[in-house]
Subunit: 475 residues, 2 copies
């Protein structure tokens, strides 16, 4: 018998406490991309371990080595936190993966509130990392906490693996998983990842993610920045060269111009087309949410396909050029473009690295510039794709039905959770993504939030899900 009422009643009565814990976690600027914030990131890992210990887990903090920079310097990576609750061999063992590092955020980027102060406005909890991925990680921890507090035995053994480098490519984690394959992971049956969002107001189960190849293209010219009046007209400016090669990456209509990239992508099958056609997705509210009158594609299937199962190029920005408000008459000496290409099944990051590098070099060579181009791929994460008919997904449907009284959407995710692919390749176990974030949570954007509703009902979903998983037949 499953004491669902008793468990969810406990969640309800501890709602404020759960939000207070989220507030403390959001207050830590665990931005993994900024080495200056590394002490905060270490503190965040300590807090995570401490929280897991407090509710009775067997916790380890695993050293995954150092991070090396192009200039030769190194810095310690945040430790990976693992925890174990129960080891009953008659039960299934699930391993929950999550991360507690966040994307950069500054008030002046356009936040309405302080990004590291959780702020409740009309039931939405605003803060960097609120939805990506601190609230989902806490919802999982609280799930175990609730079972423990009520002295109800966990229906499955639960393990945790929580990292602090997800936002910059999960440095060190692949090696750690490889090393722990026959140790920590030996008894794990299923991996659960809750690091993405629903597609609409309806809950969703996610069976695929895109990968990502992130590039730096650096053009270096004069040995220092130059006055554009004094030197303009006499030097071939690095910015002009960089703009010139960036403009050759993608056409105005979104066609990737790098030879070989599109050719690698699998064609959309009739079944896929049918499946996409059936998904509940409102183009108008999507447009409204992002504030655009027109999207890249005007029909649902094309749009979803290009969000989930086609590659895309995004140019994120340029380092080294003038980027402040106001005017500066400078010829920047060294400029570094940051762009990335989302990866889908049949694409291989090593091949993409070669295609992009060779293409940009050939485009640059045509310019006959004396400046120096250096292209490097700094992140190369593979896509992940699961079978949505697997019992893990059936369990997900049942849990959604119990908590939300509806069918979930079966969706893919445009973003990247690189570790899903590693779990698949190295551990060889089945994986499900069970999101609780809302479609409009604004991950990586200004004013990121999670709603109280999604945070609290999401916790209930996890409670129900553990029970459903316990009923999967052992093969």
């Amino acid at each position: 018998s499953f004491e669902f009422e008793e468990l969810t009643q406990y969640v309800k009565s501890h709602e404020d406490e759960f939000i207070e814990t989220l507030r403390k976690w959001v207050a830590v600027e665990s931005d993994s991309s900024d080495v200056a914030k590394r002490p905060d990131l270490h503190r965040m890992m300590d807090m995570t371990a401490e929280k897991l210990r407090l509710i009775g887990g067997t916790v380890q903090m695993i050293d995954v080595g150092t991070q090396a920079f192009p200039n030769g310097s190194t810095i310690a990576l945040p430790k990976v936190v693992t925890a174990q609750f129960g080891s009953d061999p008659s039960k299934h063992t699930v391993c929950v993966y999550g991360h507690v590092d966040v994307q950069p955020a500054k008030k002046e980027d356009g936040w309405a509130t302080e990004p590291y102060e959780l702020t409740d406005i009309d039931g939405n909890l605003y803060g960097r990392g609120a939805s990506d991925n601190k609230a989902p990680v806490l919802a999982w921890i609280h799930t175990v906490e609730v079972y423990k507090a009520l002295n109800i035995s966990l229906p499955v053994n639960v393990k945790f693996i929580i990292e602090g480098m997800e936002e910059t490519g999960s440095n060190g984690l692949d090696d750690m998983i490889e090393a722990q394959k026959d140790k920590f992971f030996s008894d794990v049956d299923y991996i659960i990842i809750s690091d993405c969002v629903w597609l609409s107001k309806r809950p969703a189960l996610t069976y695929g993610t895109r990968g990502n190849c992130y590039f730096f293209a650096q053009v270096e010219g004069p040995k220092k920045d130059l006055h554009s009046g004094v030197y303009g007209g006499t030097v071939i400016e690095p910015m002009t060269d960089l703009i010139g090669i960036l403009d050759k990456l993608i056409s105005p209509s979104g066609e990737i111009l790098i030879p070989g990239i599109r050719e690698a992508v699998a064609h959309l099958s009739d079944e896929e087309w049918k499946m996409y056609q059936d998904i509940e997705f409102d183009m108008e509210s999507y447009k409204k949410d992002i504030g655009m009158d027109k999207l890249m594609y005007s029909n649902k299937v094309d749009l979803l396909a290009h969000r989930w199962r086609h590659p895309t190029v995004s140019i994120h920005g340029i380092e080294g050029a003038f980027s402040s408000t106001g005017t500066k008459t400078v010829i920047p000496a060294k400029v570094i473009a940051k762009f990335s290409i989302r990866q889908v099944p049949k694409m291989d990051p090593a091949t993409v690295e070669k295609q992009v590098t060779e293409y940009l070099r050939s485009v640059f060579a045509k310019r006959k510039s004396p400046n120096k181009l250096n292209v490097s791929m700094v992140i190369g994460a593979k896509p992940w794709l699961a079978d949505p008919t697997h019992p893990l997904f059936e369990a997900g449907k049942a849990a959604v039905k119990r908590v939300f009284d509806t069918e979930p959407d079966l969706i893919r995710e445009g973003g990247t959770i690189p570790i899903a692919r590693t779990f698949q390749d190295v551990i060889g176990k089945s994986i499900i993504m069970l999101p609780i974030g809302g479609f409009d949570d604004g991950l990586h954007s200004q004013n990121e939030k999670i709603s109280r509703y999604n945070y609290i009902e999401g916790t209930k979903l996890f409670i129900a899900y553990l029970n459903e998983v316990s009923q999967i037949k052992k093969y």
Copy 2:
């Protein structure tokens, strides 16, 4: 009789004191482009007025109104400082123009020393604004101070007009000059500007400057930044659009692609060609100074012509995109390119504004993007050209001969001193540019400096110059 020895002896014995004053001036972060530094800028104007008062000038601080921003807010402009030394109607009256605001500078831009701490390394005085334009302004003030201290009467009446908005387009100054035309400027015979640098190790007199039209091109799409994984492929990204139109401004070989721009430029005459050919200019040391193996043009005349008398496009950077180190997977929602086009005789900023705006709009329209483009010209400064055979330049040659025992180069300046053109058009008086900065001073760049030698010998040059000007025949 001209007591040159006595005057220059005084300079020699007060060298350290003059450098200390420069140190105090450089310590003030009078960055006119940054409104957060506005209090420092006001303080800089106060210090300038105080210094001029201390040596006996009749000083005024003239209110030139407020600066308005696109968002509707306003802020007080720094006052313009005027001073007068002597009003003997039998003497010529010169007016020295200078500015005490500076370009932005941060240590992390790549400065070897703190930009606002004057640092003497091997006889070079490093600091933001050291050469542009604080040392030259101080050298002029010290020139008057030396005459006064030795009780030697000034050979000409000397006026000063010192502003604090030069680096961002001299806001308010044009109107002030217009208003003072028949007052402060009524008795002025000649305008002297010392806000540029020599071409080589040889002193120079400057008879022309380029103007500058500075543009913001803003592309606005989604209402907030988006996660490139979640949204990439579904939206037409503003960065892609912006890169696409910037790439149409200039060809790899430096050809400006905006219709009408090159057509407006006067052809290089045979006389000009001959004059450029005779100028002492070492391509190899120019290359070495900036650290480039190859320049835009491989012969001296083409290079000098494109530095001085041809327009050029420089792309300075992009506001609103990701510009830090590290990686961020963002689709920036609103990006603003900053670029400028140097202006030469026969070009007109109002026409250029129209040409650029219409061209970018048409290029953008071809992309059929739903994003919004907004092009605005935020600075429109005209070029200036003088007759290098005027007596002011003969006086300059004589002064250079006395102090440096050599002939000066007669040169033009690629940079912009917008006010030269205003003085010419409004006051209608002759103007000379008498630089004392070294060719490698790095104006607007990291590690800006002036050498002790140029600062101190430059002061002597100004002392000698006043005497030479006093001997110009009154017409």
